[in-house]
């Protein structure tokens, strides 16, 4: 369920198709995932999972895989 949710959030925040969202997708590797979109993504992840992320986590969230690790610290499992 959380896998589906994170893919939906990435898709909506970055304005990209769900098909291209995989664990290895990295920040700045596509034009849609730039610093501006990153902050929108953070906001949507916080809203979607009802959490508040640390600033360090935001800086370290460099891929979908890393995003899952960081959300894991908030007891959100994938």
């Amino acid at each position: 369920m959380n896998n589906k949710k994170i893919v939906e959030i990435f898709s909506k925040s970055l304005g990209i198709s769900e098909e291209i969202i995989c664990d290895s997708l990295e920040y700045n590797s596509i034009p849609e995932w730039d610093s501006i979109a990153h902050m929108t993504l953070i906001s949507e992840l916080e809203d979607g999972f009802d959490i508040m992320l640390d600033t360090d986590d935001i800086i370290e969230m460099s891929s979908v895989s890393k995003a899952k690790d960081i959300l894991g610290k908030h007891n959100i499992s994938f």
Binding site: M39, I42, S43, E46, D47, M52, D54, T55
Partner: protein, 246 residues
């Protein structure tokens, strides 16, 4: 004027911060009051709740301590889930001539007057962005815009606040978050009460309106900037100084 708005006011237990807390309470805001002393924050909370029918939340943390700010915001998020107004008011003033400036004075002043604003706004801006609206008000000083002898550290720190304000006004405008600053002149608070009579008179003589300002007058400007009355105002440094010349 601020009904259904949630406002965080740093350094709200005395002086200008306290006056803003009372002003915003009178205008119906839900308040998150902040200070380093548990006793002082609790005392203020009690006074506000006794006088006004509003919600008051207590956020006891040192704004210059990164981890305390982070944990403070996590607690705020759990309680209110949102934020509409942020007043970066907490600040310290230590006078020193350049030749007698200590490293501690420099470090402490910048930690509280500058670093803290970044810490607060890193978290606050994300909460405000969720509403796609908000008002951030930073307290600078006439010393930050004009400079003052014997106050190069304080003035420098407050000049930094001007730069932060103007930059973030541009950065956050597309999220409908307004960022402005208030630059008080000589305001009658605990900070200025420590001046000797000669210095006090010299300051008064430099004010065209012939008197010190009050914390309440600064709070009224904060109310304007926090409310929808200023919905098209951003990136401005508003002087509240009675025509003071420095």
């Amino acid at each position: 004027m601020l009904k259904n708005k949630i406002a965080l006011i740093t350094g709200s237990t005395r002086g200008i911060g306290r006056a803003i807390a009372f002003n915003f309470a009178q205008n119906g805001a839900t308040l998150i009051i902040n200070g380093k002393s548990v006793d002082k924050v609790k005392q203020l909370s009690k006074e506000l709740k006794n006088k006004f029918e509003i919600d008051v939340h207590e956020a006891v943390f040192d704004v210059s301590n990164y981890d305390e700010v982070k944990n403070g915001f996590k607690a705020i998020y759990k309680i209110t889930k949102k934020l509409d107004i942020v007043i970066n008011n907490a600040g310290i003033l230590e006078s020193s001539l350049i030749g007698m400036l200590s490293k501690d004075n420099l470090k402490n002043t910048y930690a509280t007057n500058v670093d803290a604003i970044y810490y607060i706004l890193q978290y606050a801006s994300r909460l405000l962005a969720r509403n796609n609206s908000g008002s951030i008000i930073n307290l600078t000083s006439i010393m930050g815009t004009n400079g003052c002898e014997g106050q190069s550290v304080y003035s420098g720190s407050k000049a930094a606040v001007v730069g932060i304000t103007k930059s973030l006004a541009k950065e956050l405008a597309d999220k409908n978050i307004r960022v402005n600053a208030i630059a008080p002149g000589f305001i009658d608070t605990d900070m200025t009460k420590n001046l000797d009579a000669k210095s006090f008179d010299m300051r008064i003589n430099s004010i065209k309106m012939g008197r010190a300002g009050t914390a309440e007058e600064v709070a009224n400007t904060a109310l304007f900037l926090a409310s929808d009355l200023s919905e098209y105002v951003t990136g401005q440094i508003i002087g509240v100084d009675g025509g003071m010349l420095l």
